[in-house]
């Protein structure tokens, strides 16, 4: 009897005995994420489940990410299969209004330029020694789009998922700090003062309904490996614009998106196990992610300058910064910056066009990347 009591009591202390320093650090990291989400209000919808997931997975002997563990179950069914980010995309499509883009379609090119940071960062990631597919996954932080980054990294580098999603989401919320200095550095005072008038090109309902259908068909045929990404965003948008399936649209942007955000957040947190996350590589990924978003901004602004030149000074290069897909943060940044230099300048709607272009651009860039990888025989098809 006495020995039974003793071994029973021992069970309560096994956790403490097995707690490693790494786990303690990661529990603190998880708590810090919770603090940022709850107290500072940075992306709480993501940081609360991620932070909590990170704490749970670092509890010794709880084995939540082991076979049959509860987090493992959601990770295997939702993240490894890439289903969670795709479900989120349906909701994003249902929430996005592409009207500003349809009014001014040539601005979509800024949304392409705003993705170049992905490809430039790929070269940097290879240069610092990442494997080919790991480098692809790190570079995709430059899409500045959480679900895209999660989709690509869960496909090619699931072991880096934690670091990549933390980088993607944290830089997205830092866009108002990262972009303005780059915008100022690359433009002249005269360019920043360019006034862009009103866009007055109303769009018919038929156009709005046809847009998601046409994009899906053409873009998916050109980049078939990206069809799941393009198709889900456009399905969501078609449901919104058609106006005949309000119940499905509202479920996609509310219930489904909410449930998936919760589970996806937990799963991302669950990839932050101490021995996987506490590596120099994680810091490198955070650094490269910062570079990626800075390069996106720089190329976007430079492309804006090119368009300014080609249109004889009608386009304010600042709106190029909104070619990244952080929607609508970066369009707001452009409005604020533009008005700093010319109080009579209202760039918001133009920046929104570029920003909506960036939304599509990031998905297309990922789709093109996947298809090129398939063409090169790096990934199966």
């Amino acid at each position: 009897m006495e020995s039974a009591l003793f071994s029973g009591l021992q069970g309560l202390f096994l956790g403490i005995a097995n707690l490693s320093l790494g786990q303690v650090i990661m529990i603190l990291v998880g708590s810090a994420l919770l603090y940022l989400g709850i107290k500072k209000g940075y992306e709480p919808l993501l940081l609360v489940p991620i932070g909590f997931g990170a704490i749970l997975v670092n509890i010794p002997l709880a084995e939540m990410m082991e076979k049959d563990g509860f987090l493992r179950f959601f990770y295997d069914t939702g993240v490894l299969t890439e289903v969670f980010p795709l479900l989120i995309f349906i909701g994003i499509g249902a929430m996005t209004d592409f009207q500003p883009l349809l009014e001014n379609p040539k601005i979509i090119l800024l949304g392409a330029a705003g993705q170049f940071g992905i490809f430039l960062t790929l070269l940097l990631a290879l240069a610092v020694g990442f494997d080919k597919l790991d480098a692809v996954a790190v570079a995709i932080i430059g899409a500045c789009d959480g679900p895209t980054a999660i989709y690509v990294s869960s496909k090619f580098a699931p072991h880096l998922l934690g670091a990549i999603s933390v980088a993607a989401y944290s830089y997205m919320s830092l866009v108002p700090l990262i972009q303005p200095p780059i915008m100022r550095l690359l433009t002249t005072d005269r360019e920043r003062k360019i006034v862009m008038g009103l866009v007055r090109q109303p769009v018919s309902k038929t156009t709005k309904i046809l847009f998601p259908i046409v994009v899906t068909i053409f873009a998916s045929i050109l980049a078939p490996k990206g069809a799941p990404l393009i198709g889900t965003v456009m399905l969501g948008n078609l449901m919104k614009e058609s106006g005949v399936v309000d119940r499905l649209k509202s479920a996609s942007e509310n219930e489904i998106a909410n449930i998936v955000t919760l589970l996806l957040g937990l799963c991302i947190g669950a990839t932050m196990e101490a021995d996987r996350f506490l590596r120099a590589q994680t810091l490198l990924i955070l650094g490269l992610g910062f570079v990626a978003i800075s390069l996106d901004t720089a190329v976007g602004v430079l492309f804006g300058k090119l368009m300014c030149f080609l249109t004889g000074g009608k386009i304010n290069p600042l709106i190029g910064a909104a070619g990244i897909s952080a929607f609508p943060m970066s369009a707001r940044v452009v409005q604020v910056e533009g008005q700093k230099y010319n109080k009579k300048n209202y760039l918001l709607m133009h920046a929104m066009s570029a920003n909506a272009g960036g939304q599509i651009g990031s998905v297309i860039a990922a789709a093109v990347m996947l298809s090129v990888l398939q063409g090169m025989g790096i990934i199966g098809g």
Partner: protein, 48 residues
């Protein structure tokens, strides 16, 4: 394939391809807008 052939190929085709696909999309949007131009009476027609 060695790392740098891989890197440069993916980077160049990736950037060019993204630009190309989005440029085609912008032309398609212009085409749809030509085919189905906005008519101001549209909201009224919807009611009827």
């Amino acid at each position: 394939m060695d790392t740098w052939t891989f890197g440069w190929t993916l980077a160049l085709i990736g950037m060019g391809g993204t630009m190309l696909v989005l440029w085609i999309l912008s032309l398609l949007i212009l085409l749809i807008k030509k085919l189905f131009p906005y008519r101001p009476e549209e909201p009224a027609a919807k009611k009827g």
